[in-house]
């Protein structure tokens, strides 16, 4: 172990500073959601779980959760089905116009959702999709498909091409290679991509906000509406809803991290041997 330098202390100090305030931000929501009355003291005067019950009934959370789940699963299924084959072609083949196609898939990730969300919502309203589940799903596909493509590329590159060639030698057709060779080998990648898309879709505010109708709000959007209408409802029940949202996201995230190392998404990490 090297002696700690001033730089090391500064770095660890900065991390600690950030984490302490982060804990404060999350902790204050958590504490408030269980607190009875909390005005000018360090901690609330009493503890209760009533805010969770009232959030559940007041906001119709069951419906909201069902909608959130439907949207997220549909988006995941469609974007994986569409994205994985495209990702395969982009990872393995070179063809005229490849860079253009790649750029086209990259653009939706490089643009802030609000920029394309407003014209997209206008078009979806024009064709009658917006305001329903279909519109929300369609809008969320825009960043999800490119995201699947980007996430899958390193996983596809890791597969030895000779496996596919061998299968072709044995007379397998493209779809057979996909179903019998690639799909089983790609399961970890597909799982990683699905969970990341799930997390992104559940957390996606702008696109859902612009396209959702009253019966197709996801949890974030419902949370936003309940917060911007503050004063009508007790802040604690809004906090309770926020805690529910965060804990469900955390569960998803912990599952995601079992399948994918976040640092391996952009580069294959060469761990230094000890």
């Amino acid at each position: 172990m090297r002696p700690r330098t001033v730089g090391a202390w500064l770095v660890w100090g900065a991390v600690t500073f950030f984490l302490v305030h982060l804990a404060g931000v999350i902790g204050s929501v958590l504490v408030n959601s269980f607190g009875r009355r909390w005005f000018d003291t360090w901690l609330p005067q009493g503890w209760t779980t009533q805010w969770y019950a009232s959030a559940w009934t007041e906001f119709g959370l069951l419906d909201v959760l069902v909608v959130t789940l439907e949207v997220a699963l549909l988006v995941v299924a469609i974007s994986v089905l569409v994205g994985v084959p495209a990702s395969y072609v982009l990872a393995r083949r070179s063809f005229p116009g490849r860079r253009l196609v790649y750029l086209l898939f990259l653009l939706p990730i490089l643009m802030p959702p609000i920029t394309y969300g407003i014209p997209l919502a206008t078009v979806l309203y024009k064709y009658g999709f917006a305001g329903h589940l279909a519109g929300v799903v369609l809008a969320n596909l825009v960043p999800s498909i490119p995201f699947v493509i980007l996430t899958m590329t390193p996983f596809i590159e890791q597969i030895d091409q000779s496996v596919e060639r061998a299968a072709r030698m044995c007379g397998a057709r493209t779809w057979q290679i996909f179903v019998r060779i690639l799909a089983p080998l790609l399961v970890p990648g597909i799982l990683a991509a699905s969970i990341l898309v799930l997390v992104r879709t559940v957390g996606m505010f702008e696109l859902t906000f612009l396209t959702a109708g009253p019966d197709s709000q996801t949890l974030v959007v419902a949370l936003y509406y309940s917060m911007s209408a503050a004063g009508i409802r007790a802040q604690q029940s809004v906090d309770a809803m926020a805690v529910l949202y965060t804990s469900s996201m955390l569960v998803l995230l912990v599952i995601a991290l079992r399948f994918v190392n976040p640092t391996q998404l952009v580069a294959r990490v060469k761990e230094e041997p000890d």
């Binding site: 982060l22 404060g24 994205g83 495209a86 083949r93 802030p112 394309y116 407003i118 955390l250 976040p262």
Partner: protein, 307 residues
């Protein structure tokens, strides 16, 4: 006789011409496997390119003021025009801080140590918080009766609460909380992608810590830095919920996205809304282009990672 002969041969030459054509395409890399791209391309074209083109078209058809009416309306009204400066004033410092703080921290953590996975997991948490919960948390924590101000007053640093919410700082902090972990993870992965033997080679040649960082790691990291900056900037640039919830949406944190939203969904002026969205996209692409242009002035070879 000869007539039937040609009749029989005609379809054959046709098929062989078609195979030749297919072969020639296959030589250039075009074959039926490319059809796998079609669903993806169709989705992007129908859901991204077409609406965008439609929005651009709509922005040139305002109710009054001719072709450029909506743009003129946006740029002549100081209340609308200043939103661009407000957004850049929030997004650029936040993105720069996030990237600048990530580099030394990630540099320090690129090796292996105990608890690295736990620490990266903790740092991923804020990404999942989403802007809405962050906003709620900031209101509680930094508010006049929140823990932060209580701690400041208890230690006697200030006599009265510091105002950190419902203004510029609230939005800025929310951008740091959501943006920093994201920038950190990306930079950490780029740093881990750089071959550690390069730095060891430099060390054998007598380069000190500072020299190794400046002459070896930093140039190799430059493309990753540029990409990370762009992604973090995009994230910060589209700030919408936090600007409304922890900011001062009518004044100091009236960002472009709020202006666009108001125009399109509260004033029902779709041409103006689309025009603002287009302006927003252009400003954002200009910043990204400048950053990528600066990056191309530096080293542009292979970096080990995907630059």
């Amino acid at each position: 006789m000869s007539a039937t002969d040609t009749n029989q041969r005609a379809p054959k030459t046709n098929t062989s011409a078609r195979t030749a054509w297919r072969h020639r395409l296959a030589e250039r890399g075009m074959d039926r496997q490319l059809l796998l791209l079609i669903p993806g391309l169709a989705c992007v074209l129908a859901l991204f390119v077409y609406p965008f083109a439609y929005g651009i078209g709509l922005s040139f058809q305002p109710a009054q003021g001719g072709v450029f009416g909506a743009y003129r309306e946006f740029f002549t009204d100081a209340y609308q025009r200043d939103t661009i400066a407000t957004t850049l004033g929030l997004a650029l410092p936040a993105a720069i801080l996030n990237v600048a703080a990530s580099v030394p921290i990630a540099y320090r953590m690129r090796g292996r140590f105990r608890g690295k996975r736990l620490l990266t997991t903790i740092l991923v948490v804020p990404i999942t918080l989403g802007t809405v919960l962050t906003a709620e948390g900031l209101l509680n924590y930094l508010g006049p009766a929140g823990w932060f101000n209580r701690a400041l007053m208890a230690t006697g640093l200030t006599g009265e609460p510091v105002r950190l919410t419902n203004n510029y700082w609230g939005v800025f902090f929310s951008l740091v909380i959501t943006g920093f972990p994201f920038a950190f993870l990306l930079i950490l992965s780029y740093l881990s992608g750089i071959d550690p033997t390069l730095e060891r080679a430099a060390a054998t040649l007598g380069a000190g810590r500072g020299q190794r960082f400046r002459r070896i790691t930093l140039p190799l990291l430059a493309p990753g830095l540029a990409t990370t900056f762009c992604l973090t900037f995009v994230l910060a640039f589209s700030v919408f919920p936090s600007a409304v919830l922890v900011g001062d949406p009518a004044g100091t944190t009236r960002v472009v996205s709020i202006a666009a939203y108001h125009a399109a969904y509260e004033a029902y002026d779709y041409p103006l809304g689309s025009a603002i969205a287009v302006v927003m996209g252009v400003v954002e692409l200009v910043v990204v282009a400048v950053v990528l242009g600066l990056r191309s002035l530096l080293y542009t070879g292979a970096t080990g990672g995907k630059g």
